[in-house]
Amino acid sequence: DSHIQYERVGADVTMKCGSMDWDAAVTWTINGTDIDESHLNGSYLILKNVDLSQSGQYSCYEGSSWHLKYQTKLRVGTPPKEPVLMCRSNNYPKGFYCSWHLPTPTYIPNTFNISVIHGTKDMVCEKDAIPKNRCHIRYLQLFSTVKYKVTLTVTNALGKNFTTLTFDEFAIVKPDPPESVVAKPVPNNPRRLEVSWQNPSSWPDPESFPLKFFLRYRPLILDQWQHVELSDGTSHTITDAYAGKEYIIQVAAKDNDIGTWSDWSVAVHATPWTEEPKHLTTEAQITETTSASTSSFMAPPTTKICDKGAVVGSGAMAVCWTAGLVVAAYSVLFI
């Protein structure tokens, strides 16, 4: 007969060859490969301190006739550790979901059972088809001070374990991140970026349950973020961007009144508008024909004075000029 046998990692396992006597001549195989006689004690197969690699199909055959006398599938594994459970409402006020996983694999099948109690009332957590380790509950009541208690039990052939979460209705409210974040330069504004986004599609009623938002941005070349909290609207104009520098921007959301902030949205990149460079021939001509009284500011005719994106000061406009324009300006001053 064939069946499944579960054993813990490190256990000593003895397999009997069905109803065969101890002194019968037998051959044991694992997954079709003969097992060395050193593992036998009479007709018994002895496996000491089993490990995961010893899982497999074990078969016992009578010595001369090679009749199959016993077969078993050995699965080596571990009892479950305390599962990790998380519950969250990303679609308030409709309901919440709980999801779980084991911190380490058991290598054998596990069964999960979840119970949800609100006060004295048992609630049904409907299992999701995908992912399998998740279930959802519809709120039957809103604005309750009575806590929810969720208990998850995990069982396998080698043992069981459980964990319990207790929480308030408001505490687990956490929207999904904002969607469709877009950042665009503003024409003729070298220090502005226009950012817009949408409410997460999973948030069912943003009109009655409005979200507020947190925007963070920084130039790629710096590590420090700037933050802006916005109590309404789904757009914002950054007005202090460094000219010509590429920015990374993210947005998070939170219910206006309860719960916690969402994770950050997918990051978007944008660079503020910059002026197109002037034609070089024109600059060279201006340089040759104007006065040289401010020669300290003159550059070779074919060279731009500064990098396009240079920042003059933290509060000042970023400026990029050509040699010709500077010389022209000073010429006017000294006339």
């Binding site: 039957l140 604005f143 309750s144 009655s208 009144d257």
Partner: protein, 191 residues
């Protein structure tokens, strides 16, 4: 004329709802702060479960999204009238217990009581706007509440403030529903 009246009523309703939302939001913030201070100064465990206390209106509601505008206003009004009486009682007990020793907590309680009273009045304004009769306030002629031990008073106070915090959150949501320009507000005058 009827159109002008109804549009001015709609504007007035929206204005009252907006102000009500701000009042309720401020009240909620102050109640949450008061709750923290109350737990600390009364030596209570913030996570302690408090059984439903008689006379404290529960904010918990089923099928909240199906409520009519009138239901929302009436339930809110009944709740805040009850909280007005409960907070007044808490204030009196506070003064009896501690005298001047805990003046800060007493002042915070009094400030919240004032806001609760103001909000109740605001709700009455909304009901008047909809030509709904203001329910007569119950409580006259009722026997005085049973005398509780000091610890029971503290626990009841915790229950009152927790439930008030939930109500303040609910009221913001209720008024947002009322402010929506749709038939679902169900505040149109009776034919």
């Amino acid at each position: 004329m009827a159109t002008a009246d109804s549009s001015s009523t709609a504007l007035r309703r929206r204005d009252l709802c907006s102000r009500g939302i701000r009042l309720a939001g401020k009240m909620r913030t102050d109640v949450v702060n008061l709750l923290d201070a109350y737990v600390e100064q009364q030596g209570l465990d913030a996570s302690a479960s408090v059984a439903a206390v008689e006379g404290v209106p529960l904010a918990a509601v089923e099928r909240w999204d199906e409520q009519t505008g009138t239901q929302r206003l009436l339930e809110n009004l009944a709740a805040y009238r009850a909280f007005r009486a409960l907070l007044a009682q808490m204030l009196e007990e506070q003064r009896e217990q501690l005298g001047e020793a805990d003046a800060g907590l007493g002042r915070a309680l009094a400030a919240v009581l004032l806001q609760v009273s103001a909000f109740a009045y605001h709700l009455e304004e909304l009901l008047r706007l909809e030509s709904r009769g203001i329910p007569v306030e119950e409580g006259d002629g009722l026997p005085p509440p049973p005398r509780l031990s000091l610890f029971e008073q503290k626990l009841r106070g915790l229950g009152v403030l927790r439930e008030l915090s939930q109500w303040a959150t609910r009221s913001v949501r209720d008024l947002r529903q009322l402010a929506k320009p749709s038939p679902a507000t169900d505040l149109a005058e009776s034919p």
